[in-house]
Symmetry: C2
Subunit: 304 residues, 2 copies
């Protein structure tokens, strides 16, 4: 349904066997990419997913490890014969930065649109998905993203009958249409129950722990969160470089209670991240280690 | 002595298991890189060589697959605490292109120098190596490079004695110094034989076969040459896209007679290049298939 892949788990620089951190989500034939460092297009190919349906790219911030793969990816999307436009969302200045990188890819065969995030309450709708950006706290302007798929309420024929809705309108109302006749206005609420729980994925990297993250990740189906350092003795380095330790990330998890939480954006100096995960699990049991290519196909809950 | 690695063999886009075409040469503690596509820094790490000694980067042309890795590599060179300048040689406009890419790496901790190739007979000296660029024929301005290490003649004590060179000057003259005294000028030739055969590596990619390539690669110790298509039935495509088939490359080899020749820059559509190498070997027996990370430590010939 909403198929999400953590393409890489590296921070700062790509390593053999560790791609840079980015996330690809597929929904209903369209894909959304968050971040695109050097090698992200290779990670996508390695996973076996296609670059062609990528219609939206969200950039957290303009450090090299989060954008350096854009020219190559866009060239490859072009080579895949995409003709539909690609939209790039990012912090202030996104168009200038990307156009500057595209000095080596001047003739893309599709249109590029740019959306600059303004304010703290940014929201964008794309092919049935909703994207929200929220400010986090790095040493440059940086945003986290939440991607949601909403789910309408259940259809109740008995409610439609109670409300005297003619049978001919049931299907259109169920699809969300509002129907106005000369006698009456029919809204979906006349045949449907309350909105049901949809799907929600929150992606946050390159930040200190701040309240906006907990708020954004609350109850998410999947929360992908940076954990630059596994060892608690690196806390002062984390503070200094505006990153997080596994412990700090897990504490956000414990407060936000996502159903699943994957750590990522590991420091190149952390050769074997698994050695630190047990400590983090003590703080929040649903936290686990991200891995290059780790993916999950999120489904709506079964109806109760 | 002159340690040369073909870091990748891909053309157009990086693939899982196939890095983009580029070459790294190490000599006397300094390194020269030719081309830097997306992922080249990862290929260097995978090989186990260091990015820190890279003081010269030569760019053949400005297509993405030959330069898209520059920002990431330069950031990594910076992270390796290099303080010495890095020089980048490339076609006209090289500084503009690279500065544009560096929008995401604005604060490198070393100085960048740029050298724009002018004319057809370009030569540059770097840390005991000599770099020559020569124009080839692609659909944009593109150069091949020849890297040479010269070798002085042999030292002959008998010649020094015949020429009445005082013993105290022998060592300095042998090192290439010219010594002027009030009575006489002493030149290295007074104690040395003829220059001996040095080392020569020629790197050519993204081009149709042209005479400048044969000229440049003549008698090279190693000739790295593009072969975008293995199958001869792709000849018209090669002509169209300004690349070469294995056969065309091997024909250059047969004319230039390098000691070794490695093919590279394989089309992403060529899944299994080895199937075409036997045909090429029939044309020039010293041609072989390039492989990611293939390297050779070239040594001066034994003295006769």
């Amino acid at each position: 349904m909403l198929d999400v892949c953590l393409l890489g788990t590296g921070g700062m620089m790509p390593l053999p066997g560790r791609f840079l951190t980015s996330m690809l989500a597929r929904y209903n034939g369209s894909s959304v990419l968050i971040d695109c460092g050097e090698g992200t297009q290779v990670a996508i190919r390695k996973k076996g997913w296609s670059v062609n349906p990528i219609g939206l790219i969200c950039i957290t911030h303009f450090h090299g490890d989060h954008v350096s793969g854009l020219p190559g990816l866009l060239l490859s999307i072009g080579n895949s014969e995409r003709k539909d436009p690609v939209t790039i969302i990012g912090p202030k200045g996104v168009e200038n930065v990307v156009r500057s990188l595209l000095v080596i890819a001047p003739d893309l065969p599709f249109k590029l649109n740019f959306v600059e995030i303004n304010g703290d309450d940014f929201s964008y709708s794309f092919e049935g998905m909703n994207i929200k950006a929220f400010k986090v706290k790095h040493n440059v302007l940086c945003y986290g993203y939440t991607l949601t798929v909403e789910r309408a309420g259940r259809f109740y024929p008995e409610k439609a009958r109670e409300n005297d809705v003619p049978l001919m309108y049931w299907n259109r109302l169920q699809k969300g249409e509002t129907i106005v006749t000369s006698e009456r206005t029919f809204t979906p609420e006349l045949v449907m129950g309350e909105k049901r729980r949809g799907l929600k994925v929150t992606y946050v990297t390159d930040t200190r722990p701040v309240a906006s993250i907990t708020e954004a990740a609350r109850g998410a189906d999947l929360f992908i969160c940076e954990g630059m350092y596994g060892d608690n003795s690196s806390l002062s380095k984390a503070r200094d470089k505006k990153h997080m330790t596994f412990t700090e990330a897990a504490e956000i998890g414990a407060a936000a209670k996502p159903r699943r939480m994957w750590l990522t954006h590991f420091s190149p100096s952390m050769a074997y991240p698994p050695q630190y995960i047990d400590e983090a699990k003590k703080i929040y049991k649903r936290v686990s280690l991200g891995k290059d290519g780790k993916s999950i196909d999120l489904m709506f809950d079964e109806d109760e």
